[in-house]
């Protein structure tokens, strides 16, 4: 072993550059040959059992407007798919496909139907392919889809501010009041933060997995969600630890970022739900979201209670945590596909996991006896209060 190490370090076997390239070329050439053989001589013909090609079609967007109904479909068949006819509510309707012709695997096409849909009622779309396979899509409640022309970005921004920025700002306003608390109060607050973050983590992951199930199979939704969450967690951990364990304002910023990414995913989903008529927008619902998100502000404030950051940092933190809700609403109501909401929520989940880890680390450091970190009575109470408050207020908004 040592000899080997010695000889190699003494005289490193350096291949010429062209030889290195050759070792790259050999496996690629084998792959090329395998493909050529597979295509030319068809050695797998024995597996062909006369079954028709696998067909799969995912409905990604539905737009209801004065022109009728438009739907965006994504093909996921083993071969290009041909849409032969379209039924709306069990009747054949003339339709236009853009682009026309067979839809290749992974490609999308718009189907336009001059259908006199009825406000507030349900409609059923059924697409029939050339093989007679059918793919169904339900429009649960028909309402006009906001378009760039009809949607006021301002009113969406106001809505986003109510559900995203305002509650975080209100939470941050408790800053001065919270500073008065002693060591126990601090334990309680930090655990409260962990509790609410834990709720958001579970909520974001569950929602991401649910949305990913609606996406086309070729996106491998569940794998994508897990990988995106792990990647964002690792990236943010690495970024956060570049100059030591984040504390104080740095930690608050990371918490705000995690919550912001979660709110982006939430915004996308809410925007899409309102656009598709799946949810009616009542004031009660808006208030529910506001109440639900107030704790997020308290969580962001917790790590900076011992500092006196300038006032503008509070505004920046509120924008970082709540602003993405506005962006999410804009995007979600205009261009929505389940895989993008799932991705945003998964990235948010990873970010939230990172701040949970960092807040717990911070708590451990504050404790004389590290094992009691989350088990101290005040900490336990905070944890329960955080999760409990989030769960109860979520009851107001879950539909």
């Amino acid at each position: 072993m040592t000899e080997l190490a010695h000889s190699s370090s003494a005289e490193p076997p350096r291949n010429p550059r062209w030889l290195n390239l050759l070792w790259f070329a050999v496996p690629l050439a084998v792959l090329g040959l395998a493909i050529a053989w597979l295509v030319s001589s068809d050695p797998l013909s024995g597996f062909r059992n006369g079954a028709p090609p696998v067909e799969n079609l995912t409905f990604e967007r539905t737009i209801l407007g004065p022109e009728g109904i438009q739907i965006l479909v994504r093909a996921g068949g083993s071969e290009p798919m041909t849409i032969a006819q379209v039924q709306v509510d069990d009747a054949y309707w003339q339709f236009k496909q853009e682009p026309a012709g067979a839809i290749a695997r992974g490609d999308t096409a718009w189907i336009s139907l001059a259908y006199p849909w009825v406000l507030g009622e349900a409609h059923a779309i059924r697409i029939i392919t050339n093989t007679g396979m059918t793919f169904d899509h339900a429009i649960d409640v028909a309402v006009p889809t906001p378009t760039r022309a009809t949607m006021s970005l301002t009113s969406q921004a106001i809505l986003g501010a109510f559900v995203g920025i305002l509650p975080v700002a209100i939470g941050l306003m408790f800053y001065s009041a919270l500073r008065g608390g002693g060591r126990t109060g601090m334990d309680f607050l930090l655990s409260l933060t962990v509790g609410l973050l834990a709720f958001l983590l579970v909520d974001a992951l569950a929602e991401a997995l649910e949305l990913s199930a609606q996406a086309a199979a070729l996106f491998q939704g569940q794998t994508m969600v897990v990988l995106a969450a792990v990647a964002s967690f690792l990236l943010l951990m690495a970024a956060g630890r570049r100059s030591g364990t984040p504390t104080g304002l740095a930690l608050a910023t990371f918490i705000a970022l995690g919550i912001g990414l979660h709110n982006l995913g939430e915004g996308l989903a809410i925007g899409a739900a309102f656009a598709s008529g799946a949810a009616g927008l009542g004031t009660f619902l808006v208030l529910g979201f506001t109440l639900h998100n107030i704790t997020e502000g308290i969580g962001i404030a917790a790590p900076i209670l011992k500092q006196r950051p300038p006032l503008w940092t509070f505004a920046a933190l509120a924008l970082l945590a709540g602003g993405p809700a506005v962006v999410g609403l804009w995007i979600g109501s205009l261009a929505y596909a389940p895989q993008w909401s799932a991705l945003a929520l998964a990235v948010g989940a990873g970010a939230i996991l990172q701040v949970i880890v960092e807040v717990v680390v911070m708590q451990r450091r504050r404790q004389v006896d590290g094992t009691r970190t989350l088990l101290a009575p005040a900490a336990m109470a905070g944890l329960v209060a955080g999760v409990g408050f989030m769960y109860v207020t979520a009851m107001l908004v879950k539909i």
Partner: protein, 376 residues
């Protein structure tokens, strides 16, 4: 989800008062959204297909509710327009006892057919067409049907008529394996509008895959002296019969995704075929339709004629109508009958006919008669 939506909206006003300015701002958004939704909605009331040129008159009646494109009749090997009056009368010879022997040749084969523009169905067929050939004979003749099974499954021909048990086309009596041949032989009786279909099991699958056809036995006028004129008008080949416009219509449907519900309904297989190419009718010539229902999965089918009434001969086994002056009849599966009507007193134009189950109509079972003055 809809319940919660309405519940939320109902509470809107009370909450608005309670929550003051905060809620007021949110409420403004709601109100703005609501107003926009309404105005949008009224705007689309006149949604119409944005086509550059005016659609043909016979399509205008359907608006945008029709299949897109055309079926390739040449590839299918049969044209719905020609199926209407394409009678298979077989080959005729004399038996030693002087009776007429009529022989039909039928071959079962698998064939993919286009049942609506762009929709292909893996059918099982008689003589490569769906419905199978419309067999026509005269009461009292000896019939011989030479049946060859070139399909991939066992098949048979089960005739709705009077015959021996050995000739019934059920398992053990004329149900034959692929590659085999069988000869059904029986007398043509009773006269009427009948049908034949495959009786292999499972029956549902064998029928809805396309194995059926019309089997019409004309009355023998010499045996019906009390109604000789009527009988002669029914007998193919007579001068009286030539004065009628006769059509055979098989009401059928196809379950393209095999979920035991039909996706496409039609008469004579191709959805909307007679909507896109209306059936030309001479105003002065009476019309007789041999109507057979073979729709699988749905318990009942119907025929409704627009702007006119007809006489109906249930199963065609009488020479007097069993129903007089109706514009709608219903048929369960394998029920059939003869419809007689005319447009003598009508102005020329397009007269619709369809099933009066709106669902069937909207899924393809609808057509048009194009009534014209006699061409000189």
């Amino acid at each position: 989800m809809r319940e919660s939506k309405f519940w939320l909206e109902q509470r809107l006003d009370r909450r608005l008062l309670l929550a003051g300015g905060l809620a007021a701002a949110g409420g403004t958004i709601v109100a703005a959204n609501g107003a926009r939704g309404q105005s949008n909605h009224t705007g689309h009331g006149g949604a119409a297909p944005a086509t550059a040129q005016e659609p043909p008159t016979h399509l205008a009646a359907h608006g945008a509710m029709i299949t897109v494109g055309e079926v390739d009749d040449a590839r299918n090997g049969f044209d719905p327009a020609k199926l209407l009056s394409d009678w298979d009368t077989g080959t005729v010879s004399q038996q030693p006892d002087g009776r007429t022997l009529r022989t039909f040749e039928i071959t079962a084969e698998d064939k993919e057919i286009e049942i609506a523009p762009g929709i292909f169905f893996p059918a099982w067929t008689y003589n490569g067409r769906v419905p199978g050939p419309s067999l026509r004979a005269t009461e009292g003749e000896r019939l011989r049907i030479v049946f060859t099974n070139n399909g991939s499954h066992s098949h048979s021909m089960h005739f709705h008529g009077i015959h021996a048990a050995r000739m019934d086309g059920v398992p053990g009596a004329g149900l034959i394996a692929p590659g085999e041949k069988f000869v059904y032989e029986f007398d043509a009786k009773p006269f009427g509008c009948h049908l034949y279909h495959c009786h292999a099991l499972p029956l549902k699958r064998h029928i809805h895959k396309g194995m059926y056809g019309a089997f019409v036995i004309d009355p023998d006028p010499t045996l019906r002296p009390e109604h000789e004129a009527v009988a002669r008008s029914r007998l193919l080949g007579t001068a009286e019969n030539a004065g009628w416009q006769e059509f055979v219509m098989i009401m059928n449907a196809f379950d393209t995704n095999f979920d035991n519900e039909n996706e496409v309904y039609a008469v004579n297989t191709v959805a909307h075929a007679y909507t896109k190419k209306p059936i030309r009718i001479l105003k002065d010539k009476p019309v007789r339709i041999y109507l057979v229902n073979v729709v699988e999965f749905d318990p009942i089918n119907s025929f409704h004629l627009h702007a006119n009434f007809f006489d109906y001969y249930n199963q065609g086994t009488t020479l007097k109508p069993t129903l007089k002056t109706v514009d709608l009849i219903t048929q369960c599966q394998a029920e059939r009958g003869i419809l007689e009507f005319h447009f003598r007193d009508h102005e020329p134009g397009l007269y619709m006919f369809h099933a009066h189950q709106s669902e069937f109509t909207e899924l393809g079972w609808v057509g048009m008669f194009d009534v014209v003055e006699a061409v000189s």
